[in-house]
């Protein structure tokens, strides 16, 4: 997997700009659509990164202020084109869609009360929930697959932590800034092999390397 990723030709600044503006302009319905399109484009279509890379980037973005998707754009842009890549990706994602947002703001006052607009939105909004479901599924797949390989206990713990964080948010209305670090700490306590010595050539790590080679 690693080799195939690195042997793919990386895009130039112009290509990055094109890709990101197409993502920005297509992603009606907000962040769910944007995240879905980023996953589909960079992982499935071009194979420039894996879902594991994506998960790791996203985790880092949660620690940056402001819109997480902009931070994600920065990290992917840097991976694929350095500083030029960051600028091309940011301008591509933001400028066309911000211009349209601006123009819509100018026209919105006239159309916002039309029943047609509300009817259309009542179809589009639940569709974005379904798209968010796919995003959640994509986020879950690598973590769950890894736990499944490690055994039943790890799989159970992983599913329990997902359920626990969702319940904490939905039923107890806890803010994300509380739920996120708590789940991270639980993950640290439950998944860190506290007893084993951190020697680099233990059988599990050798097996892991083999798996990476075979993937």
């Amino acid at each position: 997997m690693q080799q195939t990723v690195s042997s793919r030709p990386t895009p130039g600044a112009r290509k990055l700009f094109q890709i990101w503006s197409s993502i920005g302009l297509q992603s009606f319905g907000g962040g769910a659509s944007t995240t879905f399109l980023i996953q589909r484009t960079f992982i499935d279509r071009y194979g420039w990164m894996t879902m594991e890379d994506f998960n790791q980037y996203w985790n880092l973005c949660l620690f940056a202020p402001g819109i997480n998707l902009i931070a994600l754009t920065v990290l992917i842009g840097r991976r694929l084109g350095g500083v030029t890549g960051i600028i091309a990706s940011l301008v591509g994602l933001l400028l066309p869609s911000a211009t349209i947002t601006c123009l819509m703001a100018a026209g919105f006052v006239q159309i916002q009360h039309l029943p047609v607009v509300h009817a259309i939105l009542r179809g589009v909004i639940p569709a974005t929930a379904g798209i968010m479901g796919v995003v959640a599924f994509n986020f879950a797949r690598p973590v769950i697959q890894r736990a499944y390989k490690e055994g039943k206990a790890q799989t159970f713990l992983s599913l329990a932590l997902i359920l626990l964080s969702a319940l904490a948010l939905i039923y107890f209305n806890l803010p994300v800034v509380v739920v996120l670090p708590c789940t991270a700490l639980l993950g640290m306590l439950l998944f860190t092999p506290w007893r084993s010595r951190p020697t680099p050539s233990t059988p599990p790590s050798a097996r892991e390397q083999e798996e990476i080679a075979h993937d």
Partner: protein, 170 residues
Amino acid sequence: MIDPLLYFLLFFKATLFSSGGFSNLPSLHQDLLARRWATDTDFSESVAIGQISPGPNGLWVISLGYLTYGYLGALLALVAITLPPLIVLLVSALYRQIERQRWVPGFMRGISLAVVGISLTVCWTILHQPGIDWLGWLIAIAAFAVALSKRVNFLLLLSIAGLMGYLLYR
């Protein structure tokens, strides 16, 4: 009447101390209303525009900029929301310093699991908005299946959903 530098700094401050697209709203609301640079209507309208316009939800700030201070306001808002996320480069450098620590993989794994939980919560929240009935749930399930199969163009998927909404609810 509006001081462009202060206007920019208020947007910048609100974003710098926020996490996610809407959490800069309270700070902006407080600061702009206190100076009479925005009204409550400006806020509700720009959040609504942010929902129907393309791009991340957080771009609602662009329409707030436009409604309160014209094209210059939109531009200042755009710059103000673009700069703070660059801090992720610092976060990523810090992560590289600590990633070999024994506790880090488990910690990151916990975050990945919480991210799944958060994403599921977003689905739940969207489906519990007013105006979403059982037909809305059907649209959501159909959209999930279609998006998962990766066969249908994305804009086509959203257009069909919009058309369904028009036919069912007009």
